[in-house]
Symmetry: D3
């Protein structure tokens, strides 16, 4: 798997789960070792997309960034925070299995602290589920505090490691948006099961998309507040907040390539990675 | 992906993450809907096996059981409880990134409660990392309590769902052991990076195993107590507690087929699944 | 204080902390009893605004909504979630004293569950600190679950109470934005210590604003990721993410009146309050 | 608000929430910077006193102490621990909205640690709700431990800051008691909605007291144990444990002045504040 | 041990830990089954008393009450909340090993809920360590809430069980005080290692007391506040807050007999136990 | 009790709860100070053994080891983790009162950290309840981390203390097994209320055993999985997983002496105690 000594580093897998521990040890000790932790969800995405869409997409983009930067990709957070009606249709819908805040924070905190304790220089959390963001932020803050507190006694006191946290859609450019949504972009919050996710999946995992089951309907019109318990009728019957009309693999390819390139460039600049 | 109505059920993916939400909803409502949740770890397994071995193996066995029983497989718990020296070499070793007890319990509890609330009839937790077991038990107990408490008010009061918890190696038969370990079985606790895991990986994911890096050494001799902090020298340099000498894909195939068959038979009988 | 029997209800204070318990009991039992819980923070807002700005503003808007709808206003959450650099300058800045996620969720959960258990029909959480939102959502979800679980046994089983959660700036209209920001709106995230908050404070609490200390500087240019630990130099020296240039009490009055009116109208419609 | 440079310090507000961040920063760095954190409750106090009585009183006394010592007053803990029947009538009474132990400890711990991390030299927690005390003690202990653990790595290692914790009634002198309760003092535990609190409120916030609604009744006779669930009939119908008969603004003034003076003197001596 | 059927009930042990499970089951189902849970601490009590004093005393008094009422005694909470300087000398002193609030609450909650779920009618928590009280109260409140929430679904819905919580010294009568402290009672808070505890131990466990090591010194004079970190010099060198001068086994016997009798009478009346 | 200076150390009690604080302080400061913390449960053990069996046995063995090594014995953990059907018959059985994972971990963590902070050199956790083990491991790991984090600031930085964790039955030798179970050893997991525990109790606490109530029945045949909720009929009516047939005080004596001797020897070697 990991090749014989002397083999080019490209032979190493990008996914850390596929790397052996001794190769990992050597790699983690290098100056620019960077781990990308994709975060997703297990959440309904309508009748045409699979339940694992968010983790599949964030993992795929993470791997593309890894290929461009030398970063490696950790196993994704496959379960995410509760789906909210305004961004995901609602946690009451069949197929959605979520973590509460405490569980998500605890899990992400342990994983982040684990990598940071082992000398990894940079950790990039690449989020693919809207509702996760703030809880991942808390986890990162607690993990850094925990690692610093532990360093006083038993760990070497190197420079503070760096954590970056981002959602991949914040890297979609205006140009790309104009191409993907020729009739105008409806907003990220209702991009649930819509053109972005469907196009990306058509490009990356077409065997998991069934456009025959896709349903055309107007975008959901949701209030400015969150209401609990939800008024279920505000979510379209499909569970999608906007319809996937106009999704194509080609648009998915454009999204994927542009985001991966810009994200890789941003990380390279921010973290001082070798170009 | 999920086929047109009337298509044979075999067309449906076994992994829930690949299923769409509407198909999931219909399936979950069936009389015998059974979800298998594989549990693994992100843990060093020596120089010849990948870090993700435990989750890869428990997932693969879960899929084999699913193919035999109609159960579906949830996304695995990819990170597990801290590696203990007596069963995994120790949590201090590079490559091992673990959850603490609270994080593992919270994560598993939310996921289990999520499936049980949606009407899934049976949940089988299939463990592949020795140290996880008791924490998964606690999670199952808390999840059932939580689901019951919630049912009084807002949920329908159907029959209690069932949770089964097991480690796959408890299904290895005496006959299989005799074949795989012709010179005598050393015990499950030091089966870390040894013949069982290596053979299974050689059968299931040979591209992730590098037998050229495997090292032969005597099995670790560990005391009857756990000591913290660990005396690092008690773990062999490879990180394996016993050497993979004698591992073959054929032995892996035997282990895999026998365990999957017996486990499927046991679940079928216990849960009253259609034969 | 609360007047003699027969006195007009207008005599009752809008702030619950100023109401006596017996009057509260009678009011809470009415058909449309609605509590507004303002959420703020204790956070630096530059050299010209006070540390308590967020709670002062959310409380003032809550009282204005209460005056229009008959809702009453609970004591605010005076401390909020950690200030993030991209929306508040960063938690490292002097004057900022924050709650972590667990503390904020626990506090808000107890308070919400407390009101809901006492028969209050509607609870509106009115947020005034960007970073709070997701944690307040989690608190609301847990509080409703807790109240429902408890109702099975010892509490009467009336209809489920309703919780609404919103941030007040989501009610600023396009027209108001155009008036307040004649040169273009920079975005809510960097509206920290800027024109919106400063104008509102000049209208509502002018004695707590010192425009002589206000500093003009370009808006912060922040990356698309959160970085931890923060690069402190990305926050302007003032601690404001955009300068308060152009803030006036008149613009504050416009913001205040328009938001209160639209928010009151929205709540009245959503909750079926008497017009 | 905060005045121009050179203006006398008396111009600075005593309440930290009214201070700007830059003035706060300069003040916190001074040798004797002392923050008083008032703790109250949101709790029924009978038909004649408002629900916010405890926080109103502890805040008012804190401000009086601040005026005498140069200490500044943080935003109060407006919600407190569950009302116990023996000291507050019981948590079941309408109007009482409480925190559980975990929420109160977490909230107070974060706030205390926040001030201590910023270099404030002394933190005085001034309690006004009987049931809070032990939980505030735990919060203080945990906050100090947390701040110390964090100091090893990333914070400067100055002298340990000091936390004082007290309930204001412990500063009522024998002389004052004799004047306020000419017929004998009934004990602090049943001083709930009685002469002390009513007199203080008549002095400090007369517009929030309605003596026309005050009811005369014998003091509650409560057992030596706490019983749960409470026997509701042991609490007088008013919710007060003793009647406010004999309350006057003049007695309130005496209590207020004497307590503030003695408390200020005690803090000055203990903390070495400038006289 | 448990005797043959027909044997008089006096043959049953008072300590539940000495009872077999089948006898327990039959006893718990009786109409007045009452469990007493003693709470203590592991805490320094000066040079003349053992570290386990608090649990030894509360257990002994519990057994005396059991002998008078038919109640049975559970295994004590042998570790208690952190020793506070004003009531126990301080948690920094050698020999004191304490639980934090979360641990004490969690432990006591589980134990209380466990007995209540099994149909025990009354649970009496008999406290012997001053600092424990509020945390035991929280545990009792949470345990009752948990048991009620669980009853909706899977448990029978009998009448609510009753929990009483008390500290044994609240049952020392005025007469006893006058006899034990002929020169005046110094107050319960500084009764740490003093006449009460020493006399009781001399009566109950004389082999564990070494009066030759007892030291005479003035009672500690402690401020009205708690200070953290403690000023260690405020605690006398012995660790006792008042000296054991005048302690005798006879005074211990008086205390023990009077408290047990009055407590038994109070419980009998309150719980409707057979006289 | 503790004798006069110069008295032989044998005069000191082995149980720490019986030692005074000053003697403890001196002892803890010695080079080899070792505390044994016994862990048990409050759990049904059939009709012939008392509920406290597990703590009684682990405490007795701890004292025997202490007598041989100079270690001292802390108060036991009298309540343990939930009884599992496969090792204890199930948590649903009358008489069993258990801690959940969080409570057990929190309690054990505080106690361990308490001893370690006070300079005790070695802490040995001696487990007597199968289900406790992993939770005690987590507690030990967290306690060490906590003590290390705290040492950076306020504690002296001596060598790391050592924690050992073990279950006493892992020290039963093959020879002893052959003698105690002449017809073959059935396995530790179903040794619940069986020959091992009954024999030990007959040797150590015969007055608490009633062999007249012992019932002969075949050993339980339990599946390879844990099922929740349990199928109650899988546990024999007695609550024992194997019958106590063949238990004798003599076998108990053999078990006790052999285990204590081997355990003492192992600790002496591992911890470098004086022989």
């Amino acid at each position: 798997m990991t090749g014989t000594p002397g083999a080019p580093p490209a032979a190493q897998p990008i996914r850390l789960a596929h790397l052996d521990a001794h190769s990992y040890r050597d790699w983690a000790a290098t100056e620019h070792s960077t781990v990308i932790l994709p975060a997703g969800a297990f959440e309904q995405h309508g009748p045409h997309l699979p339940l694992g869409t968010d983790a599949l997409l964030s993992s795929a983009i993470a791997e593309a960034v890894g290929a461009r930067t030398g970063a490696k990709v950790a196993e994704p957070l496959s379960y995410g925070y509760k789906s909210q009606q305004k961004s995901g249709g609602g946690n009451h819908l069949p197929g959605t299995v979520s973590l509460d805040a405490a569980a998500l924070i605890a899990q992400a905190r342990c994983i982040m602290a684990g990598f940071l304790r082992q000398g990894v220089r940079n950790l990039v959390v690449l989020n693919g589920h809207y509702e996760n963001y703030q809880f991942l932020y808390e986890a990162a803050d607690l993990a850094l505090e925990e690692v610093r507190a532990g360093q006083g006694a038993s760990h070497g006191a190197g420079p503070d490691p760096t954590v970056l946290l981002l959602s991949y859609w914040d890297y979609v450019s205006e140009d790309t948006l104009a191409t993907v949504y020729p009739e105008g972009f409806p907003g990220w919050d209702i991009e649930h099961g819509g053109v972005l996710e469907t196009s990306l999946m058509l490009h990356l995992r077409p065997e998991l998309v069934d456009m025959d089951r896709a349903v055309s309907h107007p975008a959901a019109e949701l209030p400015r507040f969150d209401r609990l318990p939800v008024v279920a009728s505000r979510t379209p019957d499909t569970g999608c907040l906007s319809a996937p009309d106009g999704s194509t693999a080609e648009r998915g390819r454009l999204l994927y390539e542009q985001v991966a390139a810009d994200l890789a460039a941003d990380l390279t600049a921010e973290l001082g990675l070798p170009a």
